[in-house]
Amino acid sequence: MSTQQTELKGTVKERAQLALNNDFLRQAVKFTTERLRSGKLKAAEEHGNWEEWRERGRQIRLHTIAHLDYYLGEFANNARENGVHVHFADTAQDAISIALQIAKAKEAKSAVKSKSMVTEEIHLNQALQSIDCEAIETDLGEYIIQLANETPSHIIIPAIHKNRYQIAELLSEDAGEQLPPETSVLAGYVRKKLREKFLQADIGVTGCNFAIAESGSIVLFENEGNARMVSTVPKTQITFMGMERIIPSWADLEVMATLLPRSATGQKLTVYMSGITGPKREEDGDGPEEMHIIILDNGRSLQLGDPEFQELLNCIRCGACLNACPVYRHIGGHAYGGTYSGPIGAVLTPALKKNVAEWDDIANASSLCGACYEACPVKIPLHDMLVSLRRRKVEAGHDHPLERVGMKGFGTVMSNVKVYHRALKLGKLGQKVVVRDGGIRAKIGPLKGWNSHRVAPSISKQLFREQYGELRSELDQQAKAADPAVAARMREWLTGRDGGASHE
């Protein structure tokens, strides 16, 4: 299980093509994202004051990230006072080294894990395997993905691209007997199998949904109860968190606990919400004897102070942007080529790597429709960030030479109407060869892609700008007096806008 099958192979287009040709994948992703986004819309409506809470969520995140150094310090101090070993890791490699040191010191043979995207980001499982410590995913979706030797294709639904028949095949192989494709049977099998793993494990590994600065606690949101097992049974716990997971107080958690489950799955409440403040105390019945928190930077601090990207750190990893995204729905998560997929992944992956869009052309895989922004519970303007990434790529000279020539031409043509008219005339002349019934079907030149799915319109024989003069004189002849009500409204509008200074 040491290879990452889906990590960045080929271009976005090539990876997208794999998905577009995979009907099982497309149907599975479409089915689940439609269920989730409809659920989210319903939950937001039932909430009643969604927009107001969304704004509160945004303000909390903006404030925390603006004072991240302060809150991180407060969190680390409080966690240490609670008896937690707090480690700061600048890079993925640093985080891995710290984790392996702990595992080696404990002579760990196995680690059970609850769902954590940060551990996917740093490839923790492979690292643990390399020191002969078995890493076992205990979230059902993650367990399936691990069996398939794949990476998650969705932030919260890792196996979203598989249907239950494919899952039954994988689990049957694992069980050594044929299991029926019934969800309850399949989940029952995994539950039983994982029980033993929980009891044997030396280390429990968790992620962190929110870290509460005022008490040094971590909070986990989950639906299966596995994170609670991971954080109570093994003697040692290692929690991984991105440095931006902080919120100031428990009061702020109320807002997040309202926004996160509703945005993620349409649930009013997550099934299990665990707040963990340090290792087992004498009076506690269970819990780890030793607890570590590894706080990861890995490119996050590059966003601090960047006016275009700092808000990226506001993300609470709910996956709503993936569920709302029409591109994600058709190509699934693996086409994005990184740990994080969908609109957030398209921005986060290049941002974490280098802070400029040198990460193939993932930022181009968006129609900029803004559905991600609309779905985001903390209002991150992902569609604007995608444009910023494209701009930075062009400014850094990593754009495609052909596109550059085309766009330079665009600039020249559009800045001078005479050139524009000449270009249109040339286009009219040129298109004569290919136009049939007012449309172009030939798959040639820049129209190749367009015409593989559509008929292109031709340039009209007579453009609007060529008809304008005639139309204008026709209308001037039958000129009507201005409608008094309409005229009054226009005047009112102008007065309101310019303080009375109109051009009349």
Binding site: H330, N364, C369, H383, G449, P457, F464, Y468
Partner: protein, 228 residues
């Protein structure tokens, strides 16, 4: 133009105008986008109101001020233009106060709200008000209407297969409604969906709301004239 002329409004078409620059802006070529933007700003300097038939173009003009951060003189001009630019249906309903043009259009129609106009510019109730006041028009809801049609300007060229999958899904939904006419407020999206419907030889007529309304009022006019 003919619709507005009915209310005594003269629509000027400054012949010096070109394109708003959105293709270059969205692709990251801001220098080229600024060149186009300056042409547009100059073209409409003397206009009181600027009406665009595509929400997307109106939304693009809202980006102008941010593009001219380094050129305050142009930024000021961009802000002035931004204040007077309106999407067509928004102009009719919000500025002119017109919701009922007296149009008659006895057909089954479905409406696609384009992302930039509807989601990002907030033009949502205006087209509904205008369509609901058309006599004889049966408006059938488009399933997942708010989903992007896959146009996205250069996206449709660069990522043509993803865009193709998106427009195919949109077209499926349109066909599902059994509407005779698909109406919208953005020429880009309409060109995209119409192109795909035509590719599949589907007979659905694709119209801009202005076209539909004009056909509707012409129909009413003729009807009234015949009766008289």
């Amino acid at each position: 133009m003919r619709l507005l002329a009915r209310y005594g409004i003269v629509l000027e078409f400054p012949n010096v105008q070109t394109c708003c620059g959105q293709p270059a802006y969205n692709s990251g070529y801001w220098k080229e986008a600024r060149a186009a933007a300056k042409t547009i700003i100059n073209a409409f300097e003397d206009s009181d109101f600027v009406v665009t038939p595509s929400g997307s173009c109106a939304y693009m003009i809202h980006h102008y001020p941010e593009m001219f951060k380094e050129e305050p003189e142009w930024q000021e001009k961009a802000l002035q233009l931004q204040r007077k630019v309106f999407e067509f249906s928004n102009f009719l309903v919000e500025v002119l106060g017109i919701q009922d043009l007296g149009a008659r259009f006895p057909h089954k129609v479905t409406y696609h709200p384009s992302c930039h106009g509807s989601r990002l510019l907030g033009v949502k109730h205006e087209p509904m008000a205008l369509l609901n006041n058309v006599e004889g028009l049966e408006l059938v809801p488009l399933p997942f209407a708010e989903d992007c049609c896959g146009f996205g300007g250069t996206f449709a060229i660069k990522m043509s297969d993803i865009s193709g999958a998106m427009v195919a899904e949109k077209a499926e939904h349109v066909i599902e409604t059994e509407a005779e006419v698909l109406v919208g407020l953005d020429m880009g999206c309409l060109m995209n969906i119409a192109g795909h419907l035509r590719y599949r030889n589907q007979p659905v007529r694709v119209m801009h709301l202005a076209e539909l309304l004009y056909e509707g009022v012409s129909y009413s006019d003729e009807h009234t004239a015949n009766r008289a």
